[in-house]
């Protein structure tokens, strides 16, 4: 085992940029963690690259999760991947956004068997369709559930309650309420 160099945000960003010119739509470092945004077309190859590249060796898939922003037209759904290079002890995350009308994205099961249940869970919660997943079934909820319960349109409380809408949680209230 050889420790070539310690990675930092700039090195990782430059390495990915070099391999995928123009594929990084945005980048930032919230609370110090490098966060990239890319597209559905690039995500699988980018993940393969960071996993197998001898410099980065980001071979550990820490976790993945879906997220929904109902007010971002064409980018309502998102997937967020947390990666960890154990050799360099460097963590970063990659995000992809896509329309909720076509919630499809490549499965990471070809790269990590660990992605199998993680993706089944996000399918179960948000209805993200993972292309290439060997067994995309619900995992935590019952098989015949006909909704994707983590989507924002499904409120936690009884819909007739008026004391529990978003205004009471410090938000302006239009989010979620449009589905009432």
């Amino acid at each position: 085992m050889h420790f070539t160099m310690n990675l930092n945000n700039d090195i990782v960003l430059a390495a990915i940029e070099r391999r995928f010119p123009g594929a990084i739509l945005a980048h930032s470092t919230p609370y110090g963690m490098l966060t990239l945004e890319t597209t559905r077309e690039n995500i699988l190859e980018m993940m393969r690259f960071v996993k197998e590249d001898p410099e980065l060796q980001a071979g550990f898939l820490t976790t993945l999760c879906a997220i929904q922003y109902p007010n971002n037209p064409g980018r309502e759904m998102g997937m967020i991947y947390h990666l960890h290079s154990l050799v360099h002890n460097f963590r970063f995350r990659i995000k992809v956004f896509f329309p909720i009308a076509d919630p499809t994205i490549a499965s990471m099961t070809a790269l990590w068997p660990a992605a199998n249940w993680m993706e089944r869970q996000e399918y179960d919660f948000f209805g993200v369709q993972f292309i290439g997943h060997p067994d995309l079934r619900r995992i935590l909820n019952v098989d015949d559930l006909d909704v994707f319960p983590m989507r924002k349109e499904y409120r936690m409380e009884d819909g007739t309650r008026t004391d529990k809408d978003d205004r009471f949680f410090g938000r302006d209230g239009h989010e979620g309420r449009e589905f009432d």
């Binding site: 820490t62 997220i67 967020i80 660990a114 935590l140």
Partner: protein, 401 residues
């Protein structure tokens, strides 16, 4: 290795496979999960796990709970070591609001978290003993776990689902009774633990039952996202306390035990050694416990002293604001992870400035590594599969969230 190649030749199959339904409420699985096994005699051909029997939608509920009300949700994930979950969550919020804790609070947290790790490992390892037919060690070690729970009771009032500590530090200082219980425990536990250890570690029956049962290679373990003692048993020395130190773990000296074969015996041995290392950390933290406040000065999140609420206007205002969630929350996203009893427990928190998380995702270690179970038990005997499961430390509450 011989086990893995059992089905490489079809000659071993006599053509009559049976289906065995193990669970959902099987006493040997120590939790509610089902495995539908295809059996060739007593050998497992394939396993199909079903999980989710105690799914409570914590990620959804968390989107409608203010930050301090999410702590009790985290209790109910890995309920064998709830304090680690609680404090992992507190630290996540503290990272978001950029709150520094006084040293005393950090040391107190380390003591509590390591006690929780000891009790978590005690449950797991003594249950491995039970599943090999050795019940006695389990009855001894549960008395020790009881003493740890009594300490938790002193610090937070509850035992299993602890809701221990607060955002910004600890809820109360260690009480005189805690100190007494703690000193008693530290004086007598190590010898009793070694007694338990001696019952199993070199016990021929135990070794025969566990060595080679449910092995996994380091490479496969990493591919499956293993963390914690299960990964270390396979020979990878990844421990969050060392790689990404949180609280005051930088201040203490301890070793990371690793195994070699990733089998049930190695998992058992790694946990046994981790208990000793935890005791080392606890001793260092307790002997060097700094004086000073046991919580940070974050009135926006930390409830004021109750008597002050009745006598001081400022305390009353902050009390009201904390209870009514009138607290400004920064916009941002943080990932924070802690070394829980069974691996890297991560909290990915996205705040849009609302009083509740916009999205909170839990990286639950046993949810991720339990999916390797069918691969680990393929070709083994049913009784080995039971042992493999108990040695993986799969906690149903965390598995199903």
């Amino acid at each position: 290795m011989q086990v893995q190649s059992y089905f490489s030749s079809l000659d071993n199959l006599d053509g009559e496979l049976s289906t065995l339904n193990l669970g959902p409420t099987h006493p040997a699985t120590h939790g509610i999960f089902q495995n539908v096994l295809k059996m060739d005699g007593e050998r497992i051909v394939s396993a199909e796990p079903t999980i989710g029997y105690i799914h409570r939608a914590f990620e959804k509920i968390a989107e409608r709970r203010p930050y301090n009300q999410i702590t009790p949700l985290t209790d109910r994930m890995n309920y064998c070591s709830s304090p680690i979950n609680n404090m992992g969550w507190h630290m996540t919020v503290e990272k978001l609001i950029q709150c520094e804790l006084p040293k005393r609070a950090e040391y107190m947290r380390v003591i509590i978290m390591e006690l929780a790790r000891v009790s978590d490992h005690l449950v797991c390892n003594s249950v491995i003993g039970v599943d090999t037919g050795a019940l006695t060690g389990f009855t001894y070690m549960f008395q020790e776990r009881e003493r740890i729970y009594e300490m938790f009771e002193e610090v937070c009032g509850s035992r299993l689902t602890t809701n221990i500590g607060r955002i910004g530090g600890m809820e109360r200082d260690f009480t005189p009774r805690f100190h007494k219980l703690f000193r008693d425990f530290m004086a007598t536990f190590p010898a009793r633990f070694e007694e338990f250890n001696n019952l199993l570690e070199r016990n021929r029956i135990f070794m025969d039952r566990t060595i080679g049962a449910g092995p996994i290679s380091a490479e496969r373990a990493l591919a499956y996202g293993f963390t914690g003692p299960n990964l270390r048993a396979a020979g990878v020395d990844y421990d969050v306390r060392v790689m990404t130190p949180y609280s005051a773990y930088n201040d203490f000296e301890f070793d990371i035990p690793v195994g070699k074969d990733g089998d049930t015996y190695d998992r058992f041995m790694v946990r046994q050694e981790e208990i000793r290392q935890s005791l080392r950390i606890i001793t260092q933290a307790y002997n060097n416990l700094p004086e000073g406040p046991y919580h940070a000065d974050v009135p926006d999140f930390y409830l004021p002293e109750k008597p002050d609420v009745y006598t001081k206007m400022e305390a009353l205002i902050y009390h009201f604001k904390v209870v009514m969630q009138e607290t400004p929350i920064p916009v941002g996203e943080v990932y924070h992870c802690v070394e829980a009893g069974n691996g890297e427990l991560g909290f990915y928190l996205i705040s849009d400035g609302g009083r509740t998380p916009y999205r909170l995702h839990f990286r639950r270690p046993c949810f991720i590594y339990y999916q390797a179970y069918p691969e680990m038990v393929r070709g083994s005997m049913l009784s080995d599969a039971i042992l493999t499961m108990s040695s993986m430390n799969v906690i149903a509450g965390e598995l199903d969230a």
